[in-house]
C-alpha cells in the first residue's frame, strides 16, 4: 500500500466519510474508490454491495481477483435531551461500540459524572451541529420530550440522511409531531422515516429499558440500512 493511500483512508475516517479500498491480489496494487467512481460499471455492483453491507470480501472485477475492504466511520448516536434515558443509553452505547453525543440546551440537566464517556453539550442542538455535522453514519434519538427542543434536530437529522431518526413519545404525541413537522415543510416520505414511538416494542417499563429498546432499534437500522452512493 502506498503511504498516500494510507493517509487518504485515515483522512476519510477523520472526516467521517466512507472509503472503499480495492486490492489486486496478483499485483498487490491498491485502488481507492469514492462516490464519483461508483459509476464505474465494472466495479460498481461489487463495491456497492460491500458498502451496503459494510462487509469486506473477495471479488472478481474485470477478470482480476481482488479484495474489497470497506472503511466506514464509527457509528455515532446523538441524543437530544440529557435525562435518564440518555444517561442509560450512554453507558450501553459505549459498550456496543458507538460514539455518543448528548445535547441539551437546558444546562441544568447535565451532570458530566453521570454520562460516562459521552460528549456533552449544554447548547442549542443546531449550534453543535454546525461544529459536528450530522451524517449518514449517525443515529439521532430525540428524547428531550419537549417539542421546542426535539423538533428542529429531527428535521436536521432527516435532511442529513441519518441512518436512524427516532423520537420519544406515545402515538398521540407522535401524531401531533407529524402535524408540526409537516407545518415546517418536511415532506411525508421524510416524516415516515421517523421511528415514533422511538425504540423496538419490548414493553419497556423504565428509562433503562427504553434505552435498551432504542439501542436495539438503532442496531437493527444500522445492520439493515441501504447505503447509497451519496453516503460516501
Amino acid at each position: 500500500m502506498l503511504p498516500a493511500h494510507l493517509h487518504e483512508i485515515n483522512a476519510a475516517r477523520d472526516a467521517r466519510r466512507a472509503m472503499v479500498v480495492v486490492s489486486d491480489l496478483d499485483t498487490g496494487e491498491t485502488r481507492l474508490l469514492r462516490a464519483e467512481e461508483l459509476s464505474d460499471p465494472v466495479s460498481a455492483s461489487a463495491v456497492e454491495s460491500a458498502l451496503r453491507t459494510g462487509k469486506a470480501g473477495l471479488a472478481g472485477i474485470g477478470g482480476r481477483s481482488v479484495f474489497i475492504n470497506v472503511h466506514q466511520p464509527p457509528p455515532r448516536i446523538v441524543a437530544i435531551g440529557a435525562g435518564h434515558i440518555a444517561q442509560a443509553l450512554a453507558g450501553m452505547a459505549a459498550i456496543a461500540g458507538f460514539d455518543m453525543v448528548i445535547i441539551d440546551p437546558r444546562g441544568s440537566m447535565i451532570s458530566p459524572a453521570t454520562f460516562g464517556t459521552a460528549a456533552l453539550f449544554a447548547e442549542q442542538p443546531e449550534d453543535v451541529f454546525q461544529r459536528r455535522p450530522l451524517d449518514a453514519f449517525t443515529a439521532l434519538a430525540a428524547v428531550a420530550h419537549d417539542p421546542s427542543i426535539d423538533d428542529l434536530p429531527l428535521t436536521k437529522a432527516l435532511a442529513a440522511q441519518c441512518f436512524y431518526v427516532g423520537a420519544l413519545g406515545g402515538k398521540k404525541s407522535h401524531a401531533k409531531r407529524i402535524e408540526r413537522l409537516a407545518g415546517l415543510g418536511v415532506d411525508d416520505a421524510a416524516i415516515a422515516r421517523i421511528h415514533g414511538p422511538i425504540g423496538l416494542d419490548i414493553r419497556a417499563a423504565n428509562p433503562a429499558e427504553i434505552a435498551v429498546s432504542i439501542l436495539a432499534d438503532i442496531i437493527l437500522s444500522l445492520r439493515t440500512r441501504n447505503v447509497s452512493a451519496t453516503a460516501i
Binding site: L2, S23, A56
Partner: protein, 105 residues
C-alpha cells in the same frame, strides 16, 4: 474517544521513518474471531497494533511481516487457528483465515 485504529498507528510509524507492514484478513472459514477487513500493522522490530485473530496467530504473522518488510514483496498467508492454539491464547476461535501482508512504501 482516542483513535486506536491500527491504520493510524501505521501512518505514525511510517512518519517516524519506521518500516511498516499492513496485514489484512481477506477470507475466513468456520468461526474465525475477526472478520475480513481486520488489520494488524507490524513494524520491523516486531511491534504490532490491531488484531486479525483475537491473539491466536499474531505472533506467526509478525514473522511473516518481517519477511515482507525485508523483501518488499506482498504475500498471502493462510493460518489455521486450531482449537489448541485458541485455547493456549485463552480463546475459543478455531477456523482458518487468509491474510494479505503488504509493505507500506
Amino acid at each position: 474517544m482516542p483513535d486506536t485504529d491500527p491504520l493510524t498507528f501505521a501512518a505514525e510509524w511510517h512518519a517516524d521513518g519506521r518500516d511498516v507492514a499492513i496485514a489484512t484478513v481477506i477470507e475466513t472459514w468456520s468461526s474465525a474471531p475477526r472478520p475480513a477487513g481486520s488489520h494488524l500493522v507490524i513494524d520491523a522490530q516486531g511491534n504490532f497494533q490491531g488484531s486479525v485473530s483475537g491473539g491466536c496467530i499474531e505472533e506467526a504473522l509478525v514473522a511473516e511481516a518481517s519477511d515482507v518488510i525485508a523483501s518488499g514483496k506482498a504475500r498471502i498467508a493462510e493460518f489455521a487457528v486450531t482449537d489448541d492454539t485458541a485455547q493456549n491464547a485463552g480463546l475459543f476461535c478455531g477456523g482458518r483465515i487468509r491474510v494479505l501482508i503488504e509493505k507500506l512504501r
